[in-house]
């Protein structure tokens, strides 16, 4: 009958209207500024740098300025300048540190590749998303000091991942300490300067962005 389909449709909307007063499945609005956004643990927005100690954030950055993330960052939003000197890291090993570490959040695409490639668990993804600014040059370019957040914060936003990272790091550090101890013992036994230092990781593949066109090799070219 003409109109039956329309009546059925009216029935469905009426059901939704009535349901919006008693059925939580039909009233799904979350009043955002009043009730904060529910973010899953895995949520990623912008990266931050993990520091070991909240009181001395710049002294205890995990980052050793290896520049892997800078190279892998797809939109090239990370800028790192290595330090000239070395500072001891959590295990007391002298390491480079980033003299300049800048992330342009106006460019960052939140892809998490920097986190995935970081061998030092130094850079992680943050949950903060309320970052609207009125000036993009000053408000959205984050420097080292703005990026550094303590490990406790990391635990707070991502308990599972942070616990796993901490467990791994502790194990690594213990192993390194034992190795150093053994090396020291060996050194004491026979003076031989071998302290295996992980040091700066290998710089990865050749620069991913060639300045000039490369001639093709192989491929389907004859």
């Amino acid at each position: 009958m003409l109109g039956s389909g329309i009546l059925k449709g009216l029935g469905v909307t009426a059901k939704n209207f009535v349901g919006s007063y008693h059925d939580p499945a039909r009233m799904v609005t979350q009043e955002y500024p009043d009730t904060p956004a529910k973010l899953p643990e895995a949520y990623r927005n912008f990266p931050f740098l993990v520091t070991e100690n909240a009181t001395d954030p710049m002294g205890t950055l995990r980052c050793v300025a290896c520049q892997i993330c800078e190279k892998e960052c797809p939109p090239q939003c990370i800028y790192i300048e290595k330090s000239k000197d070395k500072k001891p890291d959590a295990t007391g090993k002298p390491q480079l540190y980033p003299a300049v570490f800048a992330i342009d959040t106006a460019v960052c695409m939140s892809c998490q590749l920097c986190v995935e490639v970081c061998p030092f668990d130094a850079i992680k993804m943050d949950h903060v998303f309320e970052v609207a600014a009125t000036n993009r040059f000053e408000g959205l370019l984050l420097n080292r000091e703005q990026l550094a957040k303590p490990n406790e914060y990391f635990h707070q936003i991502r308990p599972t991942e942070a616990a796993e990272v901490d467990g791994r790091l502790t194990a690594e550090r213990q192993a390194a300490a034992e190795k150093a101890k053994a090396a020291a013992a060996a050194k004491a036994a026979a003076p031989k300067p071998t302290t295996p230092v992980a040091g700066v990781a290998d710089p990865g593949p050749a620069s991913p962005r060639p300045a000039t066109p490369k001639p093709a090799e192989g491929g389907t070219a004859p």
Binding site: V28, T29, Q30, E31, Y32, P33, A37, N45, F46, F48, A54, P74, P75, Q76, E81, D104, T105, A106, V107, C108, M109, S110, C111, V128, F129, E130, V131, A132, A133, T134, N135, R136, F137, E138, G139, L140, L142, Q146, L147, K149, P150, N151, E152, Y153, H155, Q156, P159, A162, A163, D166
Partner: protein, 222 residues
């Protein structure tokens, strides 16, 4: 490590366009009547921000999501997405502005009646974002039109857009009707229309509006 007390709150991003209560009180002293009218004027406009129905790319989907049941931008009185620029108050540049699209965006902006506001939503609208190295991608819409609020993210969550909207509401409420703090559209020499770039042989002509866009100079090692 996880049993340490909660870390101090971090505010990595400078507050955007907020007006403190003290400032508000100070402004109130200028005159009760004028301030009352200002307050009414600001209240009316800030609660009736009708965005232009204008989606560019990925962020447009999140913009639509912000208008859907879960986030419901209607709570702020801003769900009336007007398809005609003549009735819009806010242009949400939601997505990559390509050079082919830029003249249209500027034209739309020129067609909007004052007072009008612009939110650059997402990395692409702010700076070209991940696509900034593309030959057809405009590195930020602020090269051609003035932007009030920048919302970084790729794409920003719908809540981030709502946050940006509340920032804009704050900004509108803080606007004065006269004096140096007067709203942009009330300043006698403020431009309302901006030159529309032409399609050139290699790039847009001009590639940016020099009256509007001056990037700070970066002192960097060459």
């Amino acid at each position: 490590m996880s049993d340490t007390p909660a870390p101090p709150p971090f505010t990595p991003f400078p507050a955007a366009g907020n007006i403190s209560d003290a400032e508000r009180e100070d402004l109130r002293r200028h005159g009760i009547l004028l301030t009352s009218l200002e307050e009414l004027y600001g209240w009316g406009r800030s609660n009736s921000i009708w965005p232009l129905q204008f989606g560019l790319a990925c962020c447009a989907i999140e913009m639509i999501a912000a208008a859907t049941a879960r986030f419901d931008i209607a709570r702020f009185g801003a769900e009336i997405f007007r398809p005609s620029p003549r009735q819009a108050d806010l242009m949400i540049v939601s997505g990559t502005v390509t050079k082919k699209m830029a003249p249209q965006v500027v034209r739309l902006w020129n067609q909007m009646p004052e007072p009008k506001y612009c939110i650059a939503m997402g990395a692409c609208a702010i700076s070209g974002g991940p696509f900034k190295q593309g030959y057809n991608v405009l590195k930020g819409i602020d090269r051609f039109i003035p932007v009030d609020i920048y919302i970084p993210g790729c794409p920003p969550r719908p809540e981030a857009l709502l946050h940006g909207l509340t920032q804009l509401q704050e900004k509108i409420r803080a606007e004065r009707v006269s004096g140096p703090q007067a709203a942009r559209h009330l300043q006698p020499d403020a431009a309302s229309e901006f030159p529309v770039p032409d399609y050139g042989a290699h790039d847009l002509q001009p590639p940016s509006n020099p009256a509007l866009f001056t990037a700070p100079v970066l002192p960097r090692k060459a």
